[in-house]
């Protein structure tokens, strides 16, 4: 019998929560209930609306519609203080701790009147130590936060919530930053908490955690609840199907004509990447699917030259590379569409023209050590016309452009160099439909012109729709290459969740 059927007290009820950001509906009429002693897992891909929902619950965001009821009392919207007072404690993905203060100071911060003369330190210390013991949260209350590991910091965040007598704990992707052992300890803590009548919501996109440690599972997709099931009545496959959507997307792009191998990695280790073997062929789009933070950034850096291989062999056009730097990569014909166009793709306060030649000004646009501004300008004009960049002109600061137009300029900057190897890292993130189609069209055109394209994306539809070959990355490991259409979305979802790898737990 599940908790819902057992008639356990309902401690939290979300009713028809809707939140819009501009035209994007992040949460679409979401309702859910949490019972006393229950562990509820909120499951969904990135961008499904999980974090938005929890931020509404905790009062960081204001919902456009809907209401929250905690312990039978309506919760005033948009007030973290009210949520705290109602017994809701939230452990954010990014901790809110002051590094130079001690654990105890961080925990007691804001719990006492500012004007009291003493800090009641002894009593606070005793309470924290008691909580530590009761909930299995080992941490030295007198240590400075800066000296703690990530796992310990998370324990401090949980202690902070418990110290304020939280009855409902919300954890946003709590295991994203933990080692497997720390994650196991965390779930033990959560079990101790529910045994004492607390309730827990944890956000995750890791299927094995959800299956192993939750009572109820709510699946979100595109801001909607697409399934609410008792965990014991379901299995990974069903959850994966719910998470990524059952509908199959047909590959709409004609397959490429594979050419010679341009870049190969054999047994390469670099940063978080383990024993990586990968081939990028000319005339092929190689898709890399995976949940973000599993090593995609490191792989892009590796090919782009920002990260050198620590072990294994890397070959470009058959020749082993020795010193692999961004400059060597550029010289070898590697083009990059960076993941974050604001941070690493452009300089916001530079003009379009300046941004257009960021990578090539020294080689192609200088005369006797001076920049040839006339050539830069005409090059920029060419890009603007050729790649349909809507802007006031080459002298406009790039910060004024929409994401789509900024991306088109970056695209043009890369394509004009006719790269032999192109790394497109999240090339359409945050773009509207029209810009997405444009960028995809250009990627396919580059492939047809003979480039070896590596498409990194968290969007399975995008990877499946464009790629000739698909790899899945999970915890720094790379799956074997799958031909287009060889795996269903559900099967890819399982790989993304870490299943199928040789050393998978």
């Amino acid at each position: 019998m599940s908790l819902a059927q057992s008639g356990a007290e309902i401690v939290l009820r979300l009713d028809q929560i809707t939140k819009r950001f501009g035209r994007l509906v992040a949460n679409d009429a979401i309702s859910l209930t949490l019972h006393r002693g229950e562990v509820l897992a909120l499951l969904g891909e990135n961008g499904a609306g999980k974090t938005t929902l929890m931020n509404i619950l905790f009062g960081h965001y204001l919902a456009d519609e809907g209401s929250v009821t905690a312990f039978g009392q309506p919760l005033p919207a948009g007030q973290p203080k009210a949520a705290l007072a109602a017994g809701i404690g939230m452990v954010h993905q990014h901790f809110t701790l002051a590094d130079q203060l001690t654990v105890l100071e961080n925990i007691t911060l804001g719990t006492e009147s500012l004007w009291s003369l003493g800090r009641g330190r002894a009593a606070a210390l005793a309470k924290v130590q008691g909580l530590s013991r009761d909930f299995g949260l080992a941490v030295d209350p007198l240590a400075r936060i800066a000296d703690l590991s990530v796992g310990e910091r998370q324990r401090v965040e949980i202690l902070k919530a418990l110290y304020r007598d939280a009855r409902i704990l919300i954890l946003d992707e709590p295991t994203a930053v933990l080692t497997p052992q720390e994650a196991e300890a965390l779930f033990q803590t959560l079990r101790l908490a529910t045994a004492r009548g607390l309730s827990v919501i944890f956000i995750s996109h890791k299927l094995h955690e959800v299956m192993g440690h939750s009572d109820t599972c709510v699946v979100l997709r595109h801001g909607r609840v697409v399934g609410q099931v008792a965990t014991r009545d379901t299995d990974r496959r069903a959850l994966a199907a719910l998470m990524v959507g059952a509908e199959m997307t047909e590959a709409t792009v004609a397959p490429g004509v594979p050419g010679p191998v341009r870049l190969s990695l054999t047994g390469v280790r670099a940063g978080p990447l383990r024993d990586l073997t990968l081939e990028l062929r000319a005339g092929t789009i190689t898709g890399l699917a995976g949940v973000s933070g599993n090593g995609q950034a490191a792989l892009a850096d590796l090919i782009g030259g920002a990260l050198g291989p620590e072990a294994g062999e890397m070959r470009v056009d058959g020749a082993p590379v020795s010193r692999w730097t961004p400059r060597a990569a550029l010289a070898a014909g590697v083009g990059r569409i960076p993941e974050d166009r604001h941070k690493t793709g452009t300089v916001a306060d530079f003009t379009l023209a300046e941004n257009a030649v960021l990578e090539t000004y020294a080689q192609r646009f200088s005369k006797l050590g001076f920049i040839d501004w006339a050539a830069v300008r005409s090059h920029a004009m060419g890009l603007i016309a050729g790649y349909d960049v809507r802007c006031p002109g080459p002298e406009a600061r790039i910060r004024l452009l929409s994401g789509g137009n900024m991306q088109k300029l970056i695209l043009g900057r890369v394509m004009e160099e006719t790269p032999g190897i192109l790394i497109a890292n999240q090339p359409v993130r945050g773009l509207d439909v029209g810009a997405i189609a444009y960028v995809h069209g250009r990627l396919v055109a580059a492939r047809d012109a003979g480039a070896a394209v590596l498409l990194i994306s968290e969007d399975l539809d995008e990877v499946m729709g464009l790629s000739d070959v698909i790899h899945v990355i999970s915890e720094g490991r790379l799956s074997p290459a799958f031909a287009r259409g060889a795996l269903s979305q559900g099967e890819l979802g399982l790989w993304m969740a870490g299943q199928g790898f040789e050393d998978a737990a």
Binding site: L84, A98, Q100, L101, L109
Partner: protein, 312 residues
Amino acid sequence: MIEILISASFWAAVLRIASPLIFATMGELICERAGVLNLGIEGIMVIGAFAGWMAVYLGLPLWGGVAVAFGAGALFGLLHGVLVVPFGLSQHVVGLGVTLLATATAYFAYRLALPQVTSPPKIVPFQVWEVPVLSKIPLLGPALFAQTPLTYAAFACAGLVAFVLYRTPLGLALRAAGENPAALEAQGVSVTGVRIGAVMVGSGLMAVGGSFLTLSAFSSFFFEMVNGRGWICIALVVFGAWRPGKAVLGALLFAGFDALQIRLQQTPMGAVVPYQLFLMLPYVFSILALVVMSRRAQVPAALMVPYTKGER
């Protein structure tokens, strides 16, 4: 040299010279611990020196003068705080602006109030108060316990600042505002309120430090009397690694070199060596000490970082 170091008058002078530095350093330390660099310190010391002296000249008791100085400093602190905390303006630019404004205001008001004088008028400053019994201890007594009340107050003030910072919820909130303001705000405490409050109290202390010059060290107000002490205090905060105890130590060290150089000028060596070299001494040693001491210092993480609610 040895004779100088074992004379009670030398150590008495060290404490005396350190007093205004301690007040102002504590003031700056409070500001920076809350996350706000206050370069208004030099000007605020000038306004404190002037306001305290003027109040006493116009008939207020000496402690009334100290209070007026504190109030004047807090007022300029409010100006600095409002500009840099809610409005998030550059703390460097606003601080230098406050210094220029406060200095000019003091000089202007002085000229306005006393247009005719050629030699600065005098008041009766704080007198030495010998602590009963303790001041009778040989050497130590006359050095430590025969000072003016404001010197005792300076050391008491440092103790109080340390107590508040480390032992009270208010101090905890203040340090959190300088380390991770978001963590403070998440617990329902206003970062803006804490920071502005800290800048006002800190500026008040800076002004009291300035008033020490007119109410205790000298008996009149004249131009250029603060003479860079404010800038020294900013260095002392760094030297002290943002800790009150170490900062007091730094102030004593600087004062020690200052007292020493005056006395060295009067030795036979002073007849040969140009006196400017002696004047340089405290600064040279301060720079050296700063280099050694501040290498591992922990800067408040959110120092000079404006806090905007709701931003990540």
